[in-house]
Symmetry: C2
Subunit: 527 residues, 2 copies
């Protein structure tokens, strides 16, 4: 049952006077539950509990953390249809998507459970003593990764499960040994509370300390800022807009003790279509991209918002074909009236730019909160000179830039802001003729895709989801996959520390049987 209250540690709490509701965009009505905005006292209590919980949670064994993570996954599944129905009523997304995202979320939790149960992720590094070394003896030094402390997680509007309450940021933080305080996303506060209840149940069942998790309601920005400013908070995870992510980054950087913020923000995900591919696959590419641009009503952070080609008959044919294909697709619902409102505004602003041609615009009337997919085109110099055209229009919108030649293509790519992904569409050996274009693309993105679409972010160790600013605030980390745990940990060294006082990861006898770098050799042996 959804109560509308905050979870301050294990306890439900609603001490504030401000409240808000979520919205069903398909029915165009508010949902029933009233959510109570957290007060400063509730925020303070969540932060104090998190700090206290950290003292025991930080030394929790990998096995115990794995039990906790697996229990969260189990409890999420146990929410069953209530979760799916709440998700749909707060997003307008279809059931299939809700179930798919639940699967991804549960999969991520179990992936981190496996990681910490095995244990080698701590990068144990040992250099044994050399008492006879000249001119100075060498100490015994042993290093491993340890958790930073309490982490605040801001969920994403477009992924109520996989990038929110028990999403990738939270799962990685728990795996690292960091308590988590989630600032619940106001558009799906009910879904958030249900998942929070699953986390609390799992924490209680597996004996985790009170305060290992809190769920804070708020529809404004002030509560989030208070959380980021709290001295007990040691890191921040965020998925959302550039404006929101940058504001939190600035707040965190200006603290007396600055803390790291990993914000995954906007991206227009450039797609380069080389001439041979354009010629040989005009219609199939058009179909593929019409589908990728409108997937999930264009509400993916890897949505292809920018297509680049070299001008000529082939590009003209492709644009024509893309326009035909995209208007064939039935419009779909956006997440919230605010989201469709922003889409319409940004789209209108883009369309009002000089020398921009609208080549596809869904003509018929659409239902309230449904988005009209749109494709525009410009020439290279117009695009280069107008920064407005580089900005993301979050939704089913894409712009095709017609470049004079390969040199112009390279210049445009090199002047793009940082992006999550870049895609290259090429035939046979064509790509090897464009080394400068590929090199420029690699400098601006976190992941390159060959002959595919950027939408779809596989959860696997080799995935990088992040990239140069503003696609993320720190390109040195990924938000997806096992290595995303590195955002929440720091190296820590023990020098000449007694074996019995060392953590198990670093003890001579290697009781966890993990892989360690010992005197520059990677092995699972004892010392």
């Amino acid at each position: 049952m959804i109560t509308g209250k905050n979870y301050i540690g294990n306890d439900l709490s609603a001490k504030g006077n401000k409240s808000y509701r979520t919205f069903n965009p398909q029915l165009n009505i508010e949902n029933e539950t009233t959510f109570s905005e957290a007060t400063s006292a509730e925020i303070g209590m969540a932060c104090d509990l998190a700090e206290k919980a950290f003292h025991s949670f930080k030394t929790c064994s990998g096995k115990d953390k794995a039990s906790f993570l697996n229990a969260i996954a189990d409890e999420i599944l146990a929410l069953d249809d209530e979760l799916i129905q709440t998700y749909c009523s707060e997003t307008g997304l279809p059931e299939g998507r809700a179930k798919g995202e639940r699967g991804r979320t549960v999969g991520q939790l179990r992936m981190f459970a496996n990681l910490v149960e095995e244990g080698s992720w701590v990068e144990a590094t040992i250099d044994t003593a050399q008492p006879d070394r000249e001119p100075m003896p060498r100490s015994d030094i042993r290093k491993m990764l340890v958790p930073l402390g309490p982490v605040v997680v801001f969920g994403a509007s477009n992924f109520p499960l996989a990038y929110s309450t028990a999403g990738g940021d939270t799962a990685a933080a728990f795996a690292a040994g960091c308590p988590v305080i989630v600032k619940s996303h106001p558009m799906h506060a009910g879904t958030g509370e249900l998942v929070a209840s699953a986390i609390i149940k799992a924490a209680e069942k597996t004996g985790m300390p009170n305060g290992v998790f809190s769920n804070i309601n708020s529809s404004g920005i002030d509560v989030g800022v208070q959380l980021v400013k709290h001295p007990n908070v040691k890191a921040v995870g965020f998925t959302g807009s550039i404006k929101g992510g940058r504001a939190l980054y600035d707040t965190a950087s200006q603290r007396k003790e600055p803390i790291p913020v990993f914000a995954e923000m906007g991206s227009i995900n450039p797609v380069i279509i080389l001439p041979e591919a354009l010629k040989n696959r005009t219609d199939s590419l058009a179909k593929t991209y019409a589908s990728s641009i409108t997937l999930g009503t264009g509400q993916f952070c890897t949505n292809p918002g920018l297509l680049l080609g070299i001008k000529g008959e082939n590009l003209t044919n492709f644009i024509h074909s893309l326009s035909n294909e995209i208007v064939k697709i039935e419009p779909s619902c956006m997440l919230h009236p605010n989201i469709i409102g922003a889409y319409e505004n940004n789209r209108k602003n883009a369309l009002s730019q000089p020398e921009l041609n609208v080549v596809a615009d869904y003509q018929s009337n659409v239902q309230t909160n449904y988005a009209r997919q749109t494709v525009t085109t410009v020439k290279d110099s117009t695009f280069l000179e107008n920064p407005t055209l580089h900005q993301e229009v979050f939704g089913p919108y894409s712009i095709v830039v017609q470049c004079e030649n390969a040199e112009q293509l390279e210049i445009i790519i090199s002047r793009l802001e940082g992006q999550l992904t870049g895609t290259l569409i090429a035939d046979n050996d064509e790509a090897s003729n464009y080394p400068e274009v590929i090199s420029a693309l690699q400098n601006r993105v976190g992941r390159v895709i060959f002959n595919g679409v950027p939408t779809g972010v596989e959860v696997c160790p080799s995935m990088n989801h992040g990239g140069p600013y503003p696609s993320s605030t720190d390109s040195r980390f990924t938000a997806v996959g096992i290595h995303s745990i590195k955002r929440w940990v720091r190296p820590f060294s023990y020098q000449d520390w007694p074996n019995e006082l060392l953590p198990n990861e670093l003890k001579n006898e290697n009781p966890l049987e993990i892989s360690r770098l010992i005197n520059n050799e990677q092995k699972t042996a004892k010392i």
Copy 2:
């Protein structure tokens, strides 16, 4: 020969009107060479050359980068006595120290050469395609670490070689594939220019692109700020004061495109002496710590500036013994009149605090620029209430805090600012009786030492040199050892990329024979 000019890429340049000289603190006179402060045009040119150099340097093979790094080491050694004499004349440090630090610097360069020649450091991670997976096929995805781009390095006053021009930050950045622009430290600009000439020679001999390195002179702060603000610069390394490091961090955070700053800053390196140890080893501990506090005139970032014990006869005896020992040590020269000036000011300020007792102060007259070693003591509550007493007094100064009991000891530790190191002095099984003290210490530091001294930072894979703010701006990285390369790299993924276009690190045939994580298994096999 020292020219006093900047290196803008491979060329010597002195277009500015402002100039300055270095100072010999032993002789108390200015050194001869006049150094030309870089102009905005020279800064801009260095940044443009670095950006251009990055396009080829980023794809430079590990073998070629190793040749470059080894050649730098060779050229530094070839500078021979000119380097040692210049070093001594600009720091007042003895020849033995100069030679030791040169050895450390050369050793670090060769360590990174070995790392990149072997090649596995890129953390190659491969998940092969699963075309038949249901409900969706899985793409082939391959990830590795790639360089961020040009890095600006600010050298340290107290390590003209190992943490400056070709020191750890620069060596790690080159190893990563990042061009480096050094903002030369004005106190040892001659040493800096000599080392810069060695880097330039090595770059030319091993065919590195012009712009892979520049050396920028300046005695003020404006040039450094210009460098950090330049859009071509993608990361910053700094070793020095909290004030200086924080100013650069703020500048970098406020850029339109924020960039990471790794600043290793101040630390008072708390040392906890437990009661049994205090009782059994009073005199030997006093000798050891008198020596550690005054080592290098207290000018190490790991200098023990804070000793903590539980009050009583044993602590009183220790303080007495430490006082006797420390005044026996002959005072020594500090690096520069500004450094001794700051030491005298900070010391005076500390000594003027209420309820502080001076227990050792070198009484005889000392030579100009020589420091008077000082030990003070306070009770726990005085220390807790007065933040001035928590501040570093850079030089041979230490304060002994007499705690009421173990609880007070824990409280004091938990309220310390972040530190590079924390040391525990304990006898036999004594340490296991203080789990809360040890836990609190671990939260505040980057490295713990058992029954040793914090001075002396071994260069090895297991070393962490860094820690919670303000000992560094980002505790997630170390400034020393092979893993310090991670400050300058980011993960990058290739999805379905053609094998022939992949970098060697990720090709099926594994031509570099590096260790890779393939479908969750670490191995050197081909695919």
